[in-house]
Symmetry: C2
Subunit: 296 residues, 2 copies
C-alpha cells in the first residue's frame, strides 16, 4: 500500500494538518499554534519536520501546504494567480519546495485600476468545497474571520472576491482604546447584536457608528446591554454590506468555525439571505486532496 | 485691579490653561500632558493646584474648566445637555466644584431612537468661536482628531453633531496588526493621501478598503508609495462622507491643530467643499471667557 498524503492549512497564527491514505481516508490529524509568525527565517524545514512528527512516523508520498506558508514571509513564496482561478490553475502553479515531494499552493489576487485584493488559503477551501460537492459550482461564499473573505464562484472558478478586516478590527477595539471597557465581554446573537447588524447593514459609516457603544454607556441609556455584541454586530453588518454588494445569490455558503458561522448566518438572515455552513477543515482537506490527485 | 480668570481645556490626555486679566487679555498660558487619565481618584485638587502653579502665583477670581475633567472619570461629573444648546444653556448648567470659584462646563448629547452621541470640550470651542465672531452664527464645523466631531450651528446653538473615530482607528492600525508595516510612516497630502480620500468619500466600506494597503504591498503594485498617507486619506475620506451628510454648507470651519486642519482642508477640497481653519486654543479661550462673563 502506498504512502499517505500529508495535507496542511498553514496560516498566520495556527496550522492544521491531515494524513490521508491511498483511498482518501483521513488517518491522522493535528492542529497547533505554530503559525507562520512563530517560525524563524531558516526554521521552516524543522517546523515542517515537527508537523510530520505530530501525525505519526509515516513518510508521506506527497505533502501539500496551503495558506500563509506560501507568502513572502513563509517557507517559499508561491505567487498570487489572477482571477478567474480553478483548481487546475492552482495545480499548474504549485510552488515545489522539494520537487515531487513538497509543494505549496499559490494564492489568488485581483488587480484592477484602483483596486487590489489577495487571498491565501481560502482558495483551497472554497475550490475544495466545490470539488467535494459541498457547495454548487456556481455559488457565493463567505469565510468569516480576522480577514473575512467574500468569494464568487462561477463554473467552479473563483471569479471575484473581497476582503473585510472585521475580525482584526473587532479584536483591536476589544482590547484597547475608548470602546474596550464597554466591549470586552462575550458576543451573543441577542438583541444588541441584531441592533448592531441592522445599523451596519444600512449605514455605510462604521467608523462613526462604533462610537455609539461609548455614547450609550456615558449617557446611561441602558439601550446597549452587551457592548461586545453590539460592536460585533455593527462590524459584521458592515462586512455583509460590503460583501453582499458583489453577489446577489439568495444563499451564502459560510465556510468556517462554527461560532463565527452562527453569528454570520444570523446576520445574513437579517439581510434577507440564507447562510449554509460548511466546516472549514473539511473544505480544506477536500481542496488539498483534489489538488494532490491532480498533481500526481 | 481684580484677580484674573483661570480658563482650562482639560482633556483625556493633555490640558491647556490660560490666565486672563480683567480686560480679557491672556496674561499667562500653559500646556502639559496631565490629562484626565493621569489623575488618580482623589488627586484632582492637587492636579488643579499644579495647574494654577504653572500659570504663576495669582489667585484667580473664577476658574472655569471644560473637557473630560467633567466626565464620570473626571473631577466632578457635569451632565450632558441635549441639543440644541447655546452658551447660556452651558452657563445655566455649570457644575460648581467650589461655589462661585471653580466650575466645570457640561457636555452636550444627542439621544434619539436608535442614535446616541456625546461631546465634551468641543462645545466650548465651537460656541466660543461663534461668540468671538471667528465663525458665523450659522455654520458647519469640523474638529478633527482622535474622535472627530462634525457640528452644525444654527443661530448660535449647537443643533446636531456626529462623532467619527478616525484618529483612534488610524493610531491603532499604525501601531499594530496587519497594516502596521506598510502604514507606520509619516502622512503627507500627496497622491496616496488623495487616492485614499477619494476612495473613502465614495465607498462606504472603510473596514474593507483599508486592506488595500496590504494587498498592494503583497502584490508589489507600486501604486501605494506611502501606506500611511493612503490609510489616513481613506479614514479621513470616510470621516468626511459621514460628517458632510449632516451639513450641506459649502464652507466647513475647521477648529484644530494646524497639521490635522491642513489634511482635512485638503480632503474637503476633493469633496467640493472649502475648509477654513480656526486655531483650537483661540476658540477654547474665547468660549471659556464668554462663559465666565455670563457666569459672573
Amino acid at each position: 500500500m502506498s504512502a499517505p498524503l500529508l495535507l496542511a492549512d498553514w496560516g498566520t497564527t495556527s496550522r492544521r494538518a491531515w494524513l490521508v491514505d491511498a483511498r482518501g481516508k483521513v488517518i491522522a490529524s493535528a492542529q497547533d499554534r505554530r503559525g507562520m509568525t512563530t517560525v524563524e527565517p531558516g526554521g521552516w524545514e524543522a517546523a515542517f519536520g515537527e508537523l510530520k512528527g505530530l501525525l505519526g512516523d509515516a513518510e508521506p508520498r506527497l505533502s501539500l501546504l496551503a495558506g500563509m506558508v506560501g507568502s513572502r514571509s513563509g517557507w517559499r513564496e508561491a505567487h498570487y494567480l489572477a482571477c478567474p482561478v480553478s483548481l487546475s490553475d492552482l495545480v499548474d502553479e504549485l510552488c515545489w519546495v522539494e520537487p515531487g515531494a513538497i509543494a505549496i499552493v499559490p494564492g489568488i489576487c485581483i488587480l484592477r485600476e484602483g483596486f487590489a485584493d489577495v487571498m491565501r488559503g481560502e482558495e483551497t477551501q472554497v475550490l475544495g468545497a466545490v470539488a467535494a460537492g459541498l457547495v454548487p459550482r456556481d455559488c457565493f461564499v463567505c469565510l468569516p474571520g480576522t480577514h473575512t473573505k467574500w468569494i464568487e464562484v462561477r463554473e467552479g472558478q473563483v471569479v471575484q472576491f473581497r476582503t473585510v478586516m472585521t475580525g482584526e478590527l473587532f479584536a483591536m477595539l476589544q482590547t484597547s482604546g475608548t470602546l474596550a471597557t464597554q466591549a470586552s465581554g462575550l458576543v451573543d446573537a441577542g438583541p444588541d447584536f441584531d441592533a448592531g447588524v441592522d445599523r451596519g447593514l444600512e449605514s455605510g459609516s462604521p467608523t462613526a457608528d462604533i462610537f455609539a457603544v461609548r455614547a450609550h454607556a456615558l449617557l446611561d441609556t441602558g439601550r446597549i446591554g452587551n457592548g461586545a455584541a453590539y460592536l460585533s454586530g455593527l462590524l459584521i453588518g458592515a462586512d455583509l454590506r460590503t460583501g453582499l454588494a458583489i453577489g446577489a445569490h439568495p444563499t451564502v455558503e459560510i465556510i468556517g468555525r462554527s461560532d463565527l458561522a452562527a453569528l454570520y448566518s444570523h446576520a445574513l438572515a437579517r439581510a434577507g439571505r440564507k447562510g449554509r455552513t460548511i466546516e472549514g477543515g473539511m473544505a480544506a482537506v477536500s481542496g488539498l486532496k483534489h489538488l494532490a490527485e491532480l498533481a500526481e
